[in-house]
């Protein structure tokens, strides 16, 4: 071949080859670049993961440190600094939650097993201090009646001259102090001391035996009688602000609260049955009176039984009677009555409580009073004989849902009989006294209660309607007694 052709061919080939390699090189370079970029990305990702892992490790270390610290605290309890974190209402994780607790000076510790000597119950009495509680009962009261109409405080034929408990506006019913402690293995002692603006009262102060055999128990001192259903409850435990009409008419707002002794007997039967007898001084100013007799002049007996229907339904029913000598000025103006009284009571309570969130209660009592004696006119000194057979009834129902409760009550006097015989002639005092009540309660906790109550009150027997509205607050601090049924 000619050298030129060879040269040209070579040139062509080589140039072609050259061009190819350049292109290739560029491609390779681009590819390498891409790969490198990818690698950089990967490295960056890895770095991020590493950082994350470092963070987690740091967090875990912190946690370990905290746990260690906690263990140390658990081993040797120390006062934890207050105010470590004061973010109230701040929702937080467990650490913050505990911090929050710490700020309230709650310390977590694992105590060694307690020896019996170490066990001191703070909410139950200790050796040196009795359990002390205070409940505050205050209200706002308003009515369409004038002050003087209100202070007449009478139910003609039943009651005269007993002042109304509340005045229009703000009322502080009481701050009630309660004390409780076991005396020794044989006695428990309770005292209830309401402090009002008028001074200090001794509402209750009594002992209860704890070691009598065979289901017997003796109570003595001054106590609320076991008569009836509502009588033994303190006002702050009532389902309405005020007592129902039959209690107000026959016993007064404070009920039968007397010095005396009570013997109760709980036999070991298949059904809960309790029997009780009381000998009382008889100082209730409406039913008896301190001057009616020279010594013990009132007696009470009661029998109650209870049945369960399934686990949610409970029925409690019973009968009570109290009788004794009476001397009182609360029947008619300018008079004094002396004679004998006997008061009967039939009670029935039904409770449905399927859960803590829901309950329904119906409670009813019928009271009948027989009274006979002499009515002395304090102005003319004339003496008339007086016989009274009168009765009263109330029914109340409450429905609780969560922290709310609604209630309704109907109370009435002269339901079956209203006999007021003055020296043989029957006196008619007019229409039946009655009331309709509704209430709405909010109970933030078991230690606080806010209640709004409305009374449609026709108990004055004078066609003068009494519309009452009450807003009540009850607060309990300190030791809080267990609730009876």
């Amino acid at each position: 071949m000619k050298p030129t052709i060879v040269f040209v061919m070579l040139l062509m080939f080589s140039s072609g080859a050259f061009a190819q390699t350049l292109e290739d090189r560029i491609r390779i370079l681009e590819e390498t670049l891409e790969r490198q970029e990818e690698m950089i990305k990967e490295v960056k990702n890895l770095q991020e993961t590493l950082k994350k892992q470092e963070k987690t490790i740091g967090e875990q270390r912190k946690l370990i440190e905290e746990l260690k610290a906690e263990i140390r605290q658990q081993k040797a309890p120390e006062k934890i600094q207050e105010g470590a974190k004061q973010e109230k209402e701040e929702v937080s994780t467990s650490k913050d939650y505990q911090l929050d607790d710490r700020s309230r000076a709650i310390e977590l510790k694992t105590a060694s097993p307690l020896s019996p000597l170490q066990i001191t119950k703070q909410t139950t009495p200790g050796l040196l201090n009795p359990a002390i509680g205070l409940s505050l009962d205050a209200n706002y009261y308003t009515t369409n009646l004038s002050k003087s109409e209100l202070n007449e405080g009478s139910i003609p034929g039943y009651l005269f001259g007993v002042e109304r408990e509340f005045q229009k506006g703000f009322n502080l019913r009481e701050a009630e102090l309660t004390f409780f402690a076991p005396v020794d293995p044989y006695f428990n002692v309770y005292a209830t001391i309401p402090i009002t603006e008028d001074g200090v009262e001794l509402e209750e102060a009594y002992f209860v035996t704890t070691s009598l055999p065979a289901g017997f128990q003796l109570k003595g001192g001054k106590f609320k009688s076991g008569f009836g259903r509502l009588n033994a409850f303190h006002p702050h435990a009532w389902d309405f602000v005020d007592a129902p009409l039959p209690y107000r008419a026959f016993l007064g707002e404070e009920g039968l609260d007397e010095k005396g002794v009570q013997l109760t007997y709980l036999p070991s039967l298949p059904v809960y049955t309790i029997l009780g007898l009381e000998a009382l001084q008889g100082e209730n100013s409406i039913l008896y009176g301190p001057n009616a007799g020279s010594g013990i002049h009132a007696f009470t007996g009661f029998a109650k039984a209870s049945l369960d229907f399934g686990s949610d339904h409970t029925l409690l029913f019973g009968g009570s009677v109290t009788g004794g000598k009476t001397e009182t000025d609360t029947i008619a103006p300018e008079t004094r009555f002396s004679g004998t009284s006997i008061l009967y009571d039939g009670e029935l309570t039904y409770k449905w409580k399927p859960s803590n969130q829901k309950s329904f209660t119906v409670q009813t009592e019928y009271l009948f009073r027989h009274q006979a004696g002499d009515l002395l006119s304090l102005s003319t000194l004339a003496v008339d004989s007086l016989r009274r057979n009168q009765d009263g009834w109330y029914i109340q129902s409450l429905y609780q849902l969560g922290r709310w409760r609604i209630g309704a009550r109907y109370d009435i006097l002269s339901i079956f009989t209203d006999k007021y015989d003055l020296s043989g002639s029957k006196i008619d005092f007019g229409s039946r006294p009655y009331r309709l009540t509704s209430a709405l309660e909010f109970n933030p906790t078991e230690f606080s209660r806010i209640r709004l109550q409305y009374n449609y009150d026709q108990s004055g027997r004078n066609d003068k309607l009494n519309n009452e509205i009450l807003l009540q607050i009850i607060l309990a601090i300190g030791a809080h007694g267990a609730h009876p049924f």
């Binding site: 929702v91 994780t93 310390e107 039967l269 007898l277």
Partner: protein, 296 residues
């Protein structure tokens, strides 16, 4: 006065009718799980009545006359203690007129005396909610403590009924063997390191023993139900900490739990809390089985 005579007669009649039964040891237990353990130790030598319903909130039990009657007939009264029953037990004890179970007597058996309490506050007031001054009272899911309680129950039964002491001791050692065997089974359940949000401070003993963690509570303070705004805040918290599950108990309102579960897509579990609550929970062992299974 006629009436009074009648009542006196009634008294006498009922007194002669009421002859106590001595055949078996009568045990009144407040909570069903206590009754269950008493049954394990006492078996056919005891008759156990427990008066709190298994679906009931043990903090809010209302005293019923029938409970007074149960305590009246009891030779031994067994209770959780640590003030869990403070709202009703004192009135049952006094009204029962039964000297055997009065505080200070051997028949008054406080199970918490045998346990290692946790969360004992150094100072407490009611603004903190329902904080128990003697520590967290919910120790029924703690095998370590329950073993001690069972031993305590064996002790009281052997002391009160020495003739059958051997029987009770044998029952306790088989209880312990069964517990040890079960604990191997339970420890195989992978709970260590898991986190939960709980309604109430109910699982703290179990968390301590099983190695899981309760990182938050639906109740802002023990015994205080959450407000709507608090629940909103809980949503953020749960989203942040991503717990394994939200633990609730059957007696708490399910509304908040459901809402939180839906909002955060964290599953909610209603954990059985006492013997008899469901058909599967027949005794304390099956209670533990069901609880641990539900947490898995």
């Amino acid at each position: 006065m006629k009436m009074l005579k009648k009542i006196c007669l009634w008294f006498l009649c009922v007194f002669f009718f009421a002859t106590p039964a001595f055949a078996k040891f009568n045990i009144a237990a407040t909570l069903p799980w206590i009754g269950s353990i008493a049954n394990e130790i006492g078996q056919d030598k005891v008759r156990v009545t427990s008066f709190v319903k298994p679906n009931q909130d043990p903090h809010f039990v209302a005293a019923k006359p029938s409970m007074i009657l149960d305590v009246r007939k009891a030779d031994i009264l067994m209770y959780n203690g640590m003030d869990l029953e403070i709202g009703y037990l004192p009135v049952l004890v006094e009204s029962s007129k039964n000297p055997k179970i009065q505080p200070g007597n051997p028949g008054n058996f406080d199970c918490s005396k045998f346990i290692d309490p946790i969360e004992v506050p150094t100072s407490v007031d009611r603004s903190m909610g329902d904080v128990h001054p003697q520590g967290n009272p919910h120790y029924q899911l703690s095998p370590k403590n329950i073993l001690r309680v069972a031993e305590g129950i064996e002790g009281i039964l052997s002391k009160a009924d020495p003739e059958n002491a051997g029987f009770y001791k044998k029952n306790f050692s088989s209880f312990r063997e069964r517990l040890e065997e079960k604990q191997r089974e339970w420890s195989a359940i992978p709970l260590r390191g898991k986190t939960f949000v709980a309604y109430h401070k109910f699982f703290e003993y179990l968390a301590l023993e099983s190695g899981f963690e309760i990182v938050g509570y639906i109740e802002p303070k023990p015994g205080i139900p959450p407000s709507a705004s608090y629940v909103e805040k809980l949503v953020d918290m749960i989203k942040r900490v991503e717990p394994h599950a939200i633990l609730s108990l059957s007696y708490y309102p399910q509304k908040e739990v459901k809402f939180l579960s839906e909002k955060t897509r964290v599953k909610s579990i209603i954990v059985p809390h006492d013997v008899g609550e469901t058909e599967k929970v027949k005794d304390w062992f099956s209670l533990m089985d069901e609880v641990l299974k539900s947490l898995e």
